[in-house]
């Protein structure tokens, strides 16, 4: 199998795009109402911890990814069973991401185009990128990330310049106490988007210069968290909390507010660009994680699977829910408890526990061996 590597800067941009991905599309932390930004700020801190947790698992055995570590801990048959679970989990998440995007495009940009076409086209693109390999994914995200910052900056300037910003919308701070903030925080905000970093357990092992990997990944989570916080702040102060909660795509709604001199209006396209890039990276990373699982299970290069898997994601992105409301409810009420918590924290904690035990055993064994000589 081809050895491929991504650089630290590519890892950084992948992380930023991944975390912004669908979180910026649908808006997170809505439960906390006006204090969503506080909830996000706390979530970022926890997110750093989550990243450290995954990094800690990977750094025990450098160069091995999640599935290979499973094999080390539980032997191959059980590892295959677990990896099949994870493959399905990652594919489901990819479907959710694609569905989010499909709904966004279908409701905001191309109302008369069937959502299946949107899903199909974006999945084909992901399949092409993944067929070319992880390096290409890294480089693509590296090239587009500056534009992401540029557009976000531009959007901010335009929103402030057009006078839509009302900072009093933030008041009263913590008007209802900490209760709503905690409600938003746990588990929704922690598992989405930060818990989803579990997919990076397949990417971290192939980063060159693993030494700086921890610093860079924490930096990535930090930057993405700050951007997310900033985006939430921007949405609250432009829309106000009532419109924010009623809006399916708050970022898009706030971009529509921009109007300068009757000339710069309706800059939705910019926002869609930000979102599309994030979705593309996030979907691709999930698909890559699933492909890696397939590679591990079938011992075939993952490129072979990219197109079939993309087709599966296309179909199931449509089939997972009947409409957007259903999709939304599923994502907020079911997935965090029954999927995210066990897959993001349950199994990995178990894995880490066994891994540490095994490593200790191995160490003592090898040290006794050394004693003999």
């Amino acid at each position: 199998m081809l050895k491929e590597n991504i650089s630290l800067s590519q890892l950084l941009t992948l992380l930023i795009n991944f975390l912004l991905g669908s979180a910026i599309v649908v808006g997170v932390g809505g439960d906390a109402k006006k204090d969503a930004w506080i909830a996000i700020a706390i979530a970022v801190l926890i997110g750093l911890g989550v990243m450290l947790f995954y990094y800690f698992i990977i750094s025990r055995m450098p160069g091995k990814n999640l599935f290979e570590i499973m094999e080390f801990c539980f032997k191959r048959p059980i590892a295959i069973m677990l990896s099949i679970l994870y493959i399905i989990y990652f594919l489901y998440l990819a479907c959710r991401v694609v569905r989010d995007f499909g709904e966004l495009i279908a409701s905001a940009i191309l109302p008369s185009t069937p959502i299946e076409i949107i899903s199909l086209t974006i999945c084909m693109l992901m399949a092409y990128i993944l067929y070319l390999g992880l390096e290409v994914l890294g480089r693509t995200s590296e090239i587009f990330t500056p534009y992401l910052f540029g557009f976000l900056f531009l959007l901010t300037i335009l929103l402030f310049a057009s006078g839509n910003v009302n900072l009093y919308e933030l008041q009263p701070v913590l008007g209802d106490g900490f209760q709503p903030v905690f409600k938003a925080l746990f588990p929704t905000l922690i598992v989405f988007p930060f818990g989803e970093l579990i997919a990076f357990t397949l990417i971290l092992p192939v980063v060159t210069n693993f030494k700086y990997c921890m610093r860079v990944s924490l930096l990535g989570v930090g930057i993405a968290g700050i951007l997310l916080l900033f985006a939430m702040f921007l949405m609250i102060v432009t829309l106000g909390v009532d419109v924010l909660l009623r809006s399916n795509f708050p970022m898009l709604s706030s971009a529509r507010e921009v109007s300068i001199g009757n000339f710069i209006e309706r800059i939705d396209a910019l926002v869609v660009f930000i979102m599309m890039l994030g979705i593309l990276i996030k979907g691709s990373v999930f698909m890559f994680a699933a492909l890696k699982g397939l590679e591990y299970t079938f011992r075939l290069p993952y490129r072979y699977f990219s197109l079939p898997v993309a087709m599966i994601v296309t179909v199931f992105s449509i089939l997972i829910s009947v409409n957007f409301g259903d999709h939304w409810q599923e994502g907020l009420e079911l997935v965090p408890y029954y999927l995210h918590l066990p897959m993001q924290f349950g199994f990995p904690s178990l894995l880490l526990f066994v891994l540490i035990l095994k490593l200790r055993k191995k160490k003592s064994k090898s040290s006794t061996k050394e004693m003999k000589f």
């Binding site: 191309l110 185009t113 390096e135 994914l137 480089r139 090239i143």
Partner: protein
Amino acid sequence: MSILKSLLKMRKKKELPIQIEEPPDADAGADLKTLSLEQLKEKIKDEFGSTIDLSMDDLKTEGKDALLVYLTSMVDTKQLKETFLQSLSGKHDGLKLTTEDDLKSLCKEKFGGAGYQLIETFNDIITALLFGNIIIVFKDLEKALSLSMASSEDRSITEPSTQTVIRGPKDGFVESISTNVSLLRRRIKNRNLRFEKFIIGSETNTSVYIGYMEGISNKKIVEEVRKRLRKIKVHAIFESGNIEELIADKTATPFPLALNTERPDTVAANLLDGKIVILVDGTPFVLLVPAVLVDFFSIAEDYYQNFMMGSFLRIIRYLAFMIALITPSLYVGILTFHHELLPTPLLLGIIAQREGVPFPAVIEVLIMEVTFEILREAGVRMPRAVGQTVSIVGALVIGQAAAEAGIISNIMVIIVAITAIANFVSPTYSFAAAARLLRFMLIIVSAILGLYGVLLVLVFIVAHLSSLRSFGVAYLSPVAPFIIEQQKDVFFRFPFWSMRQRPAYLKTQNPEKMPKTGSPSPPPMKGERAN
């Protein structure tokens, strides 16, 4: 004395010292010692058949029978008659040509420095003849004398026709490979500049040279170039484009994976950066490998003018490339799907103009773009004498009349014009061609999926670009993979003194171009302390 004069004359024409690679030869051919002069004559006649440009004369020189063979079409016959024959058929001074040593001393005495060679097999004779040498075979001697006397009838050095500059040297490469090599050597007077010769094309036997800087170029890349050139098995090479396609890492791409140029200064600068040049006999276009995307946007003139202006023009070039690529598809996408993106007055204006147009936007764009491509092709191919006609027909009849007849809208004419002009900005023709092709793909997708489609295709193009490699070097370096040091020469051109590093992605043997000097500064004024 006449000999001396002729030698001096010949020395001027002498070819540059070039390491000759032995062409792979299956059978070495018959030795000369087994053939008498008559037999040899017959055999050469057999090989060449009844071609009219083969000349075989019997000579008697130094008291010995000899045979002079050459191709009249390849040899400078004037030089041959005036100088060489006079000197050789003159009075001999008692020298006897009986052994090989006699021949050697004769050569040393009379042709020393004239690039003579002693050859002994029949196949060598044939090859030497084909490369414009004259062959003298002496009776009863095992070796024949081969003298380079290739006619030098080629175009004089003129200004390059494709890559013109305002400020900068005005000489360009010509068809003759030895002239091209000398143009390079004159710019880089350095013993580390090396050239190697390859003979490619089983029928054409075309000379292909590679040149590189020893001690700078990455040895692995040089070896890779050699390997790929050796692997080529084609019957004919007429242009460096043939070579480019045969040694590229990937052919299924619209983007050129080798930089071609007509300018010796560009080549010299790139050689010193660690690139490798491939010269092909018979064409003024030379190749530079490995090429990365940013090479196609930077030209030699960027470095000859103020760095601010250089940076500005470079940004303009990137912008123009984007305009050439996406303007028509933006027009289609916005008019078909996203009217709301346009300010209302502008939208009303466009709609009013399009009122009489019977086609949807995409058909309108395709008609105009195809028409323009046809006009452009006609402009290149037509005889120069009818040039005026085409431009009049193109500009007036098609542009204005089509708009007046209500087939296309006026704004469409503007868009096609902007696209076309922006496309001409690209300094390398082969790279602009990629934009021409991809433009059509973008137009069609944007007609189906609007701006979302445009973004989709743009990401697709970027993914494709990041998968490309040129001799193992990522095509998008130094942007992705990102190398911070090289950003001095990508979108901006930093001041000359600050660009001290060779491109890191080439992995050169010596990464530093020059010592750290700092910005030039004026001498200290009176009372000021010099630091």
